[in-house]
């Protein structure tokens, strides 16, 4: 019996009798982070990081939630379980599972660069590592955050100079908070779509400190949008909701912007390659840092990434999951 099994409901630990990020309702669900492809509705009990809890409440409604801090081990039916920072979004965690001396870690979604918001990714030693592979091809290499932030800031300043508003498309949970971090250094005139606003409110209520934003409502006077920054989720892109900001320029923040065609397809004025996932080098360094002898590769370029690991002498296999497709791809809209 493996410590973690891949079932049609999700990752399952038979010894501990719990699931991790199940995509069907179960008794006990351990949640890596609150994105909708990892945190689904309908389970009896949820365990997650303290900072994930308010977002789960916002998104899934009232359920039985329990939360823990990172590196705070708990016992689940004799299995030792702990959460460790994954650096993906605020509260995102890797799940470490230990039983009879054997250690497995599920990365959830992660990025290796410290964004100073989500908690720095912590490499966790293990025998078996289950990793995502959203950007698991060597064409995906990210610039340091400081450079990307600077590009975003320069773009906003140029738009202000040209008397245009700056609409920035970013996922409401994760990317929006980073964009806010970047643009608040150059302007205070920041608006947000309802989805971004709600997430922000939940974080503020939970005691996070974030730069202040104004909510876009049907009552907001259009004059207020002049030269403003507006942060909106992908669902707003291409919708008539954007009309009120005219004249504006539109930018998309996503790792997929790395490839010209993806940026062109989105018809944006600007694409910023800003991702909450590890790039190719990040994935490789994370896998190596775990020291794992066996690696399972989930959502993304799992075929290529696992083949490459095998050629490098790390036994790897791909796993089919229901992750990705919601927040991971640029094609679908969030929520």
């Amino acid at each position: 019996m493996a410590l973690i099994e891949f079932t049609d409901k999700g990752l399952y630990c038979p010894a501990g009798q719990f699931y991790i990020d199940p995509w069907k309702p179960v008794n006990k669900a351990i949640i890596t982070h609150a994105h909708s492809d990892h945190a689904r509705w309908g389970s009896q009990y949820y365990l997650c990081h303290t900072k994930t809890k308010p977002i789960l409440q916002l998104r899934l409604g009232n359920h039985h939630y329990e939360s823990v801090e990172w590196n705070q081990p708990i016992n689940m039916n004799g299995v030792k379980l702990s959460l460790h920072p994954a650096g993906h979004i605020i509260g995102s965690s890797q799940i470490r599972v230990e039983h009879k001396g054997e250690v497995w870690v599920f990365s959830g979604d992660y990025k290796t660069e410290n964004d100073e918001l989500s908690g720095a990714f912590e490499p966790v030693k293990c025998n078996t590592f289950i990793t995502e592979s959203t950007f698991g091809l060597p064409i995906y290499k990210w610039q340091p955050q400081a450079i990307i932030y600077n590009n975003i800031q320069q773009w906003v300043l140029q738009n202000i100079k040209d008397d245009k508003a700056s609409v920035i498309i970013a996922y409401s949970l994760g990317k929006a908070q980073r964009v806010l971090q970047a643009v608040s250094k150059v302007t205070e005139n920041i608006f947000a779509h309802g989805a971004v606003w709600n997430t922000q409110e939940a974080f503020l209520a939970a005691g996070e400190t974030l730069p202040s934003i104004k909510r876009v409502t049907s009552e907001t006077d259009k004059k207020e949008f002049k030269n403003a920054v507006i942060i909106a989720p992908p669902g707003a892109d291409g919708s008539p909701w954007l009309k009120r900001f005219t004249p504006y320029r539109l930018a998309i923040c996503s790792g997929w912007m790395q490839v010209r065609g993806n940026a062109r397809r989105r018809n944006a004025d600007k694409g910023f390659v800003l991702s909450d996932h590890a790039d190719w080098d990040g994935l490789l360094s994370a896998v190596k840092a775990t020291g794992a002898a066996k690696v399972f590769v989930t959502h993304g370029f799992q075929a290529a990434f696992s083949k490459y690991l095998n050629e490098k002498g790390i036994a790897a296999a791909e796993v089919k999951t229901a992750y990705g497709g919601e927040e991971e791809t640029e094609k679908t809209t969030e929520e």
Binding site: I139, W256, V259, G261, A263, A303, Y308, T332
Partner: protein, 532 residues
């Protein structure tokens, strides 16, 4: 190179024509003379000959960054563009900025044909290392491989040049057309010196029609219009100047040598003439299907056999230069009269007048249009009798009124990732019809779905693909589409025995199951009716 890369970046990303125009103007204002000429050359499809194969580039790049070839290929399938794949894979290594001009690289490529493979490799690697950003490496690679397909139309380039030179757009269009060598001509020689030796081969920019979407009676009185069949051939200009004959295709390609049949017209045509028409294979004045022409287009040497089997004629419909004079401003009715006279005098089976169809009401014309396929025409052309010969695609005076396409229901069996806007999306499909319990592939189609539909098909392919590596995915034959196409012809190069003309997806038949698609017999029946 930095400025050129910046220009390409803006042209490729901005969606606003005004910003593209501004970027072009800015570039032409600051770039060196040589670079300006090269940009015009590149944007009008005049590129240096390719001297390094994509296989070599791939191999060198994979070795340089130390990844296996299969992984390079995976990257390439995802990006959909070799130049960009290499640009993304190679690291930003340059620390000093030693920017070299665009022409430095192009001139190197021009003389590289005679260099050894090792020398070429050294140059490529040095350049990848020296170019500080992916966008610069991208344009550098693009100079060498593949077409420079960027978000700029010829029209836009002409507009920008017109602004920069204070010339009229049609004058610019004419001057940058035809045969000229970017390596030797200067910007002034090309555009500004009106008296400079006018290149006698230069074609005129083609006047192109928009599809007619409204009902024809919205165009006004029938007697103000001339109707012709819309031929399915290659649009071309036949020009005789200084006792030399030139044949141009619409892609501004000089194709005189590909159609030696027209040489017989040389002695018969007066000097200083430019005719606009269609290059069509025809026997005894009757057109053959376009598929027949395709069998000879790509060939370097036109054999006797081909000349016998697929001889071409020129179906002429307009005259735009006569006695050495540009007569594009003369109304169509007058040009037509002149044309009829000239063609009548020449009276040669290689030069056929595209007949004007007589009609006295739009209803009559609509009935005639429904017979287009029997004429091997794609529909009708409507031209205002008072119209001048304009430049590029313009609304108002010329319209194409095409017939409805043929349609067939088929199932998708293979998918491949696209390129450009469709990179990393399964957007290129192969379709099959039923033959008993077998499926027979018969067409590929790349367009016709909305972005949203492509995303759905993409998700289906990713979930249902059999292979994991390589460019092509075999998928469960489940998704049914209605394909539209303009014509059908017999073909022994295709498994199905038929070749379709311009197949594309008409709509996604989510209401149909795979066992409800059309059969090979249905296709053959269509071939019987429309393909002979």
């Amino acid at each position: 190179m930095k400025e050129f890369a910046q220009l390409i970046f803006i042209l490729g990303t901005t969606t606003k024509t005004n910003e593209k125009l501004k970027a072009l103007q800015q570039y032409f204002a600051v770039a060196s003379d040589k670079d300006k000429v090269w940009v015009i050359a590149l944007f009008t499809g005049r590129r240096p000959k390719r001297t390094i194969s994509s296989t070599l580039l791939k191999t060198w790049c994979a070795k340089y960054i130390n990844i296996p070839l299969w992984l390079f290929d995976e990257c390439y399938h995802t990006v959909g563009d070799l130049s960009e794949t290499i640009a993304l894979l190679t690291p930003d290594e340059a620390t000093t900025t030693n920017d070299k001009p665009l022409h430095y690289y192009i001139e190197w490529f021009l003389q590289s044909a005679k260099l050894s493979e090792e020398d070429k490799k050294i140059f490529m690697l040095q350049s990848w290392k020296a170019l500080p950003s992916a966008s610069e490496r991208f344009v550098f690679n693009k100079l060498l491989s593949g077409a420079f397909r960027i978000g700029v139309s010829q029209q836009l380039l002409i507009q920008a040049l017109a602004k920069v030179t204070a010339l009229e757009a049609p004058v610019v269009a004419h001057r940058i057309s035809g045969k000229w060598d970017a390596a030797t001509i200067s910007f002034d020689e090309l555009l500004l010196s009106a008296n400079a030796k006018a290149d006698s081969s230069k074609p005129y920019p083609f006047y192109l029609a928009y599809p007619l979407e409204a009902a024809p009676h919205t165009l006004g009185q029938p007697n103000e219009w001339q109707a012709e069949w819309k031929w399915d051939g290659i649009r071309g200009q036949l020009i005789k100047r200084n006792n030399t004959l030139f044949v141009w295709s619409r892609g501004e390609e000089l194709v005189t040598e590909k159609f030696p049949e027209y040489e017989t017209l040389f002695a018969l045509l007066p000097d200083g003439i430019a005719l606009d028409g269609e290059i069509i294979p025809a026997v005894d004045g009757k057109p053959l299907p376009f598929a027949q022409l395709q069998t000879r287009i790509g060939r370097k040497n036109i054999s006797k056999k081909i000349l016998q089997e697929v001889p071409v004629a020129f179906f002429v419909y307009d005259i735009i230069e006569y006695n050495g004079k540009d007569i594009r401003e003369t109304p169509l009715a007058e040009r037509r009269k002149l044309l009829e006279e000239i063609v009548g005098n020449i009276n040669h089976p290689r030069l056929l007048l595209s007949p004007a169809i007589s009609f006295n009401s739009w209803d009559v014309l609509a009935m005639l249009r429904s017979n287009s396929r029997e004429q091997l025409a794609e529909g009708l052309m409507l031209k205002r009798k008072s119209s001048t010969y304009q430049t590029g695609r313009k609304r108002g005076d010329w319209w194409k009124w095409k017939i409805d396409p043929l349609v067939i229901d088929a199932v998708m069996i293979y998918a491949q990732k696209g390129s450009g806007r469709r990179s990393n999306l399964y957007s290129d499909y192969t379709f099959a019809v039923k033959d008993g319990d077998k499926l027979v592939p018969f067409a590929k189609a790349y367009s016709g779905l909305t972005d949203k539909e492509i995303a759905q098909v993409d998700a289906f392919v990713k979930r249902n693909a059999i292979e994991k590596f390589g460019p092509v995915r075999t998928v469960k034959p489940e998704l049914v589409f209605e394909l539209a196409f303009e014509g059908i012809a017999a073909s022994n190069r295709h498994k199905s025995g038929v070749a379709l003309r311009f197949p594309r997806i008409n709509r996604w038949r989510t209401d149909k199951k795979a066992d409800e698609i059309n059969t090979l017999d249905d296709l053959k029946a269509m071939l019987e009716v429309y393909g002979k």
